[in-house]
């Protein structure tokens, strides 16, 4: 640190931030003096971190997440913590205990989720880049809905140390930004090995996006353009893929048969992991005080019922049910086989093509309160969850509009080929700019 600071006092008409740092210190370096927003489930020493949950209201982390340490070392100014669906559980940011974030393109619509605050902060012009997290599409969905770029890196590329866990085997921290170049610059800072995350891999990232994609083979899965996908969205994405062909790429049709049960496998896995992870919120070490005069279960239940939102309680219950004696084989064990089948489908396709492309989301951003039924909300994650199940890199880049709202082109790549995914997005961005 060299004693600089920037002033950050935005109006925030979209409620992108839960906490702002009006005087944000920064140093010199690759991101020296650049305002970066951080999703509120990533620990920031001395800055309140709530996961948009009442159960963590007032919680001040005593340490930084690994990615936050790296941001500070790079000279970035951490200007605030962004709104999200409580603990990352949602597709709209409406599940925040502190009120929804609005989509800067149309304030009657959601920004997507769960990293909706990070996406709105960028789309609304408040910051150039932000960190999000992606468990089943939580970076890519809001990137698509808000017309920005977002990358879910290969599982293991970025340390999860200090990320408040929801579903460990699926989630990754990733960069979001206005342009592919910004996303690439932010990935360079956060990628690499960290001994405190046992799934972290020693694979640093050096940014050098190349727009030359001649000879590239792109797989086009029929499931990404079939039933449930808005034809207007599909048309915009098909045109975008046409632009990539004009840049020298060729397309190859393919199928991902495991898509039939990928979404169910995802929701079983994430709710099971959540039921275990969220057991730590007990109002004892942090959070609203449990009544120490009452018995353990009574005190514990009171705090959790009062402080967890409905969707969080639903997912904890679904996971508890799916892992309970007699149901484990029907749900969790089957979900793991399904997950393996998803992975195999990708391995097979990637033996013939370099990347896979399709829409990020099946529709444009929903209207606020449009999706009130939990299952119909879950179904909108169908195109993003396969990448999390397989652990592969996946990026959303804006590719036009449908009904006046942004549409995202999703590009998925082989494990550890985040570079190639970024190159393809960069080529597209250069071709249309």
């Amino acid at each position: 640190m060299t004693g600089h600071e920037i002033t950050f006092e935005p109006d925030d008409p979209y409620h992108a931030f839960l906490t702002t740092c009006p005087r944000a210190p920064h140093g010199d370096g690759k991101l020296g003096g650049i305002a970066v927003a951080v999703k509120d489930n990533i620990s920031t020493k001395g800055i309140e971190t709530t996961c948009a949950s009442k159960i963590l209201k007032g919680y001040i982390p005593p340490y930084d997440a690994h990615v936050v340490e790296l941001l500070r070392q790079s000279g970035a100014a951490i200007v605030g913590k962004t709104n999200m669906d409580e603990f990352g559980m949602g597709t709209t940011t409406e599940n925040s205990a502190f009120g929804p974030t609005l989509n800067p393109y149309d304030t009657g619509r959601v920004p997507g989720g769960s990293s909706g605050g990070s996406a709105a902060a960028i789309a609304g012009g408040m910051v150039r880049m932000a960190l999000g997290t992606d468990t089943g599409g939580s970076i890519r969905c809001p990137a698509a809905f808000c017309g920005i770029v977002g990358l879910k890196p290969t599982y293991g590329r970025v340390s999860r140390y200090g990320l408040i866990a929801y579903a460990n085997s699926l989630e990754q921290i990733g960069p979001m930004g206005r342009t592919v170049t910004d996303v690439s610059a932010l990935l360079e800072v956060i990628a690499g090995h960290d001994r405190r995350d046992s799934t972290s891999y020693d694979k640093p990232y050096s940014p050098a996006p190349r727009a030359d994609i001649s000879g590239l083979k792109i797989g086009i899965p029929q499931e990404y353009f079939g039933a449930g996908v808005d034809p207007q969205v599909a048309a915009v994405v098909t045109r975008a893929i046409g632009r990539l062909e004009e840049c020298g790429a060729t397309t190859v049709p393919c199928t991902i048969p495991s898509m039939e049960y990928a979404l169910a496998a995802y929701y079983v896995t994430c709710t099971c992991e959540a039921s275990s992870n969220l057991a730590r919120f007990d109002g004892v070490r942090y959070g609203p005080a449990a009544d120490t005069k009452k018995s353990w279960h009574e005190a514990y239940r009171e705090v959790r019922q009062a402080s967890f939102g409905t969707e969080v309680r639903r997912r904890i219950m679904l996971g508890t049910y799916a892992l309970s004696s007699g149901y484990y084989g029907k749900y969790y064990a089957k979900a793991q086989i399904a997950r393996e089948n998803v992975k195999r489908d990708f391995t097979r396709i990637f033996s013939e093509v370099d990347v896979i492309a399709g829409p990020t989301m099946p529709t444009i951003a929903f209207k606020l309160r449009e999706k009130s039924d939990p299952l119909s909300m879950y179904l909108s994650d169908i195109l993003t969850v396969p990448a999390n199940l397989a652990g592969i890199p996946a990026l959303s880049v804006p590719c036009g509009k449908a009904g006046g709202m942004p549409v995202g082109l999703q590009i998925m790549g082989r494990p550890w080929e985040d570079e190639r995914v970024i190159d393809v997005a960069y080529a597209y961005e250069q071709a249309v700019s």
Partner: protein
């Protein structure tokens, strides 16, 4: 199908509580999701999941931990440098 009684039981096991007035809706939505999960009955494949992953070991070396003051800073109830919890017995 999960009955209202089972849903109440699950809420109890998970220590998240459930109000009588939300039990009906919760059960209905819970069952819609479980019905959807039934698609997993169609999954076939090996039961043994193989992964191209390997264990990464390191030496167990003691490193400095957080000072007690920092660890206690967020605890809502404390006594004599300890975190106070509800009674277990």
């Amino acid at each position: 199908m999960a009955t209202e009684q089972e849903v109440r039981h699950i809420a109890e096991l998970a220590d998240v509580g459930i109000n009588p007035e939300e039990l009906g809706t919760f059960t209905h939505q819970f069952n819609a999701i479980l019905d959807y999960f039934d698609v997993l009955d169609r999954v076939s494949g090996d039961t043994a999941v193989t992964r191209d992953l390997y264990n990464v070991m390191r030496d167990d070396i003691v490193k400095p931990s957080l000072p007690q003051k920092d660890v206690l800073a967020n605890a809502p109830a404390q006594e004599d440098g300890f975190i106070k919890a509800p009674r277990v017995m």
